[in-house]
């Protein structure tokens, strides 16, 4: 593990060299190397550090307000997934993910310049953790919801990122992916 500009950089994890990252406080530990590798499979060039790190409103892991008992109930979960166009149930928070798969989801969203998303730390709330699994009938975390609809976990989001579907889905939500700007800049050269 090396240290560069205050960020821990692990070059050994995947063989890719981490470039200078201006992405704030999160320890990347080679996870962006992994993501870059995965994106190269898609064939799209990447521009690093193009967008500032964003912190979701509930990203500190606090339990959602207004949940009077039964935070894991269907009704309560439904309210959460519908409250924002992009909602993520994860382990840890966007500033400090506690799981590689959850971190991958956060990094993918950031690559697309999604600066405003709601994140819930299920490790802080066992009722919510079970509730979200019951709601989506999906056994694992992370879980990503777009416009109130469950789209999948880390694997699916990665494949959507690789095949261009994520750009399209974000467009439907009125979010322009940052990768479109990156590709546009690339075309100009």
């Amino acid at each position: 593990m090396g240290r560069r500009n205050g960020l821990e950089v692990d070059r050994s994890a995947c063989g890719f060299r981490c470039k200078k990252l201006s992405l704030g406080k999160a320890a990347m530990s080679g996870s962006l190397c992994w993501l870059r590798a995965a994106s190269l499979l898609r064939g799209a060039p990447l521009r690093w550090g193009a967008r500032p790190l964003s912190q979701a409103a509930a990203g500190d892991g606090s339990s959602p307000g207004g949940g009077e008992g039964g935070r894991g109930s269907r009704e309560s979960v439904e309210r959460l997934v519908r409250a924002h166009p992009v909602v993520v149930f994860m382990k840890g928070n966007p500033g400090q993910p506690l799981c590689g798969f959850s971190n991958a989801v956060v990094q993918i969203l950031r690559l697309h310049g999604v600066q405003d998303f709601q994140a819930y730390d299920v490790l802080q709330d066992p009722d919510l953790r079970q509730g979200i699994k019951n709601y989506s009938n999906w056994p694992t975390i992370p879980q990503v919801y777009l416009n109130g609809e469950f789209v999948g976990g880390c694997d699916i989001l990665l494949q959507m990122h690789q095949n261009g579907d994520l750009v399209e889905e974000l467009k439907k939500l009125g979010i322009r992916s940052a990768l479109l700007d990156a590709e546009k800049d690339q075309d100009k050269k």
Binding site: S31, W34, G100, P139, G152
Partner: protein
């Protein structure tokens, strides 16, 4: 599943393989125990990655493909398996592109996770 497919020391992996073979008759199947990449004791069978190519996935969107695999492995997911990474392709897709995404690195979440004790306990 019991029988010749259960290999010593890898009961969960063997069961996953057997169930997927039987249910999906894949043209390609890889079952990887990724537990060593995570903050769990050595020898654990908690984190798996499955790469599978089957005609059963034809016409199904990604989410439905994954749900199908989840359903087949429902008991394992309710039991010892804590994480399951899935790459589900049709035979044609597999022929066209056999690249498999790398798994993300661990960020130590299992250490902070009260559920892990249950998962590890169920491994006997």
């Amino acid at each position: 599943a019991r029988g010749p497919l259960i290999s010593m020391g890898k009961p969960v992996e063997s069961t996953i393989r057997a169930k997927l073979l039987q249910a999906l008759q894949p043209v390609h199947l890889e079952v990887h125990n990724k537990s060593s990449m995570h903050a769990v004791p050595r020898g654990s069978e908690t984190h798996f990655k499955v790469v599978i190519a089957s005609q059963c996935f034809a016409g199904l969107p990604l989410l439905q493909r994954h749900r199908l695999v989840n359903e087949i492995l429902q008991a394992e997911l309710a039991g010892p398996v804590h994480a399951l990474s899935i790459q589900a392709k049709t035979p044609q897709q597999w022929e066209e592109n056999q690249s498999v995404s790398q798994s993300p690195g661990c960020l130590g979440g299992s250490r902070h996770d009260p559920h892990m004790a249950t998962k590890l306990g169920s491994q006997g």
